[in-house]
């Protein structure tokens, strides 16, 4: 992979989970292993918004967790800003901002404290940190709540704090798992607007979602994942020339699964 224009490059990523007996009962299966991601390859260019689209259980979150180095791939590898998630996890973590609803800011602290804490973990000099904090807090309207405990903030404001805190190091690649899940329309719009701003600033945004409209609205390219495999990878505009993304998705899904149930 010599293309310097590629920010995220995943090749043949694989991840298998061992199912507990409880999980097997829930899934009504006797299989002890579940392949979550099955040889997934894709690439996201610098300065673009790339969407991983798929139904629940398709392997989107697992893929993003592998890219964020929170879990290790069983096979394949991914390069983020040229760093391998397998062999250079710390460098990967220094170049990404990772956001998921599962990662939450500690309720006990204030937005300002958390911003400083994560800046320190990212080794950001104090003057840069203060400047960045001012910018991001103003951008999201956190400034007036910056000394309020997270526990006392609204859900939308908490999500904004999470975004600001994940960007303390101004990462080149922002990985966002289901960015608008559980948000009211106003906060969701604020988040999507911000993703477009990041793109304008030359950042690469990789997001996972099952919301077609979000992909159509902000993504440059999309990868449709079905059962841990890449079913289609294409430019969103080209893919939706003749049909809506929803129709395209169901066609792809039906082709992969032999029908839509």
């Amino acid at each position: 992979m010599a293309d310097t224009e590629i920010a995220v490059f995943a090749e043949n990523l694989k991840k298998t989970f061992t199912l507990s007996s409880k999980q097997r009962k829930l899934d009504k299966t006797t299989e002890k292993k579940k392949v979550a991601v099955n040889g997934l390859s894709f690439s996201a260019k610098k300065g673009e918004i790339y969407g991983l689209l798929g139904p629940n259980g398709a392997g989107k979150t697992t893929t993003l967790r592998m890219l964020a180095t929170l879990i290790k791939p069983d096979g394949g590898d991914a390069l983020i800003s040229g760093h391998s998630v397998r062999t250079d996890a710390e460098a990967v973590r220094a170049s990404i901002g990772f956001l998921t609803s599962e990662l939450k800011p500690d309720d006990f602290f204030t937005p300002s404290y958390l911003f400083d804490f994560f800046s320190n973990l990212q080794n950001i000099p104090t003057h840069v940190r203060d400047e960045r904090k001012k910018q991001l807090f103003e951008r999201f309207g956190i400034d007036e709540f910056q000394e309020t405990k997270i526990a006392d903030l609204s859900t939308g404001m908490k999500q904004k704090v999470s975004i600001a805190v994940s960007l303390v190091h101004d990462p080149d690649v922002v990985i966002f798992d289901e960015p608008t899940n559980g948000l009211d329309v106003l906060t969701a719009k604020s988040v999507t607007d911000f993703l477009l701003e990041l793109k304008e600033r030359g950042k690469t945004v990789l997001l996972s979602t099952h919301i077609f409209s979000l992909v159509e609205k902000i993504c440059d390219r999309v990868g449709i994942i079905i059962d841990g495999k890449m079913a289609v990878e294409a430019n969103v505009k080209e893919l939706t020339k003749e049909k809506s993304l929803e129709d395209v998705f169901f066609d792809v899904y039906a082709a992969a699964k032999g029908g839509v149930k």
Binding site: Q23, R65, A91, R93, E102, L103, D106, Y113, L121, N123
Partner: protein, 378 residues
Amino acid sequence: MKLSGFLTILKKEFARFFKDRRLVVSLFLPGLLIYVLYSLMGNFIVDGMLGVDEEYTYKVACVNAPAFLEEGLSSMGDFEVIEAVDAESGKTSLAEGEVDLFAVFPQNFDPMAGGSQTVELYFDTVKTESAMAYEYVNALLSALQYGEPRFTVNAVDLSDEEDMSGMIFSMIGPMLVMMMLFTGCISVAPESIAGEKERGTFATMLVTPVKRSHIALGKIAAISVIALLSGACSFLGIMLSLPKLMGGEATGLGIPSYTFGDYALLFGVVISTVLVMVSLVSVVSAFAKSVKEASGYVGPLTAIVALLGISTMFAENAPVGLFFIPLLNSAIAMGEVFSFAVNPLHAVVTLLVNLGGSAVLCFLLTKMFDSEKIIFGK
């Protein structure tokens, strides 16, 4: 190795704790309460503890017992005066608790004669009956020389207060210290590790470039300091109230006068013990998905620590092999310090084993922080 990650985690853990008034109070209040309650209890308990049964017959061994002795004592209570063969056998009987007082009178003692007569009284203040017997006999002899002193009474307390206090401290001290430290530790560690996992805040640190080992070390160091402070507070409460609880003013019991070396050694053992406890509870908490689950896992550990704490009572002359078992070694080593029987080899082995054990557990915790099953296990 850059320590910025470790220090950042350490500071955050301190902030998480010390800015939470509820947590601070819950950790330091027990020490204060223990002091107040034990002091109050002490004032009431002591009166009962020092009493001697009215039906009790005091046994007094005597060399050259004068005739007036038995007669005089009988007016004060039930006394049995036994003739002792010689001074040695009398002291032995007293030491073995066969008699309550041993008295040596000069041959043909005449309380009215004057001159250089000396009466020797041997007793043991640690035993209430012995102390009371001394009081009676001494009162009788004082009455005999009312007006002018005609003979000398040489009172010899055979009890060694230091030894006695040391013995009591060595019995209850290790258990108290172990339990206080462990209580401090389990108030913080499950919250800091399982709590962070439960609330989803833990993984936010895992997606930063900070090393897993720094997160583990930072947490263990912070929890250790907090557990140590909390343990010290509770322990201080107990130590300060102990003389009152055990009737210090009346029995002469108090905090034994340990040397600086004893305290330094105790401090070393305590620090190494806290590190083992915190690392252990952290590893156990890391397995749990919630604080509640972690508390469930910690329950049996609490029982084990209490058992190890009292095991010092049965571990006199402990072989060096026992000091290779973490926490048990702490309890026995503390017992040795408290009873003025410090064994440098035991102390060194204890420190090294505990530090080594903590290092292994910390390494394990680092590996666990890297394990997706531990972090995302459902």
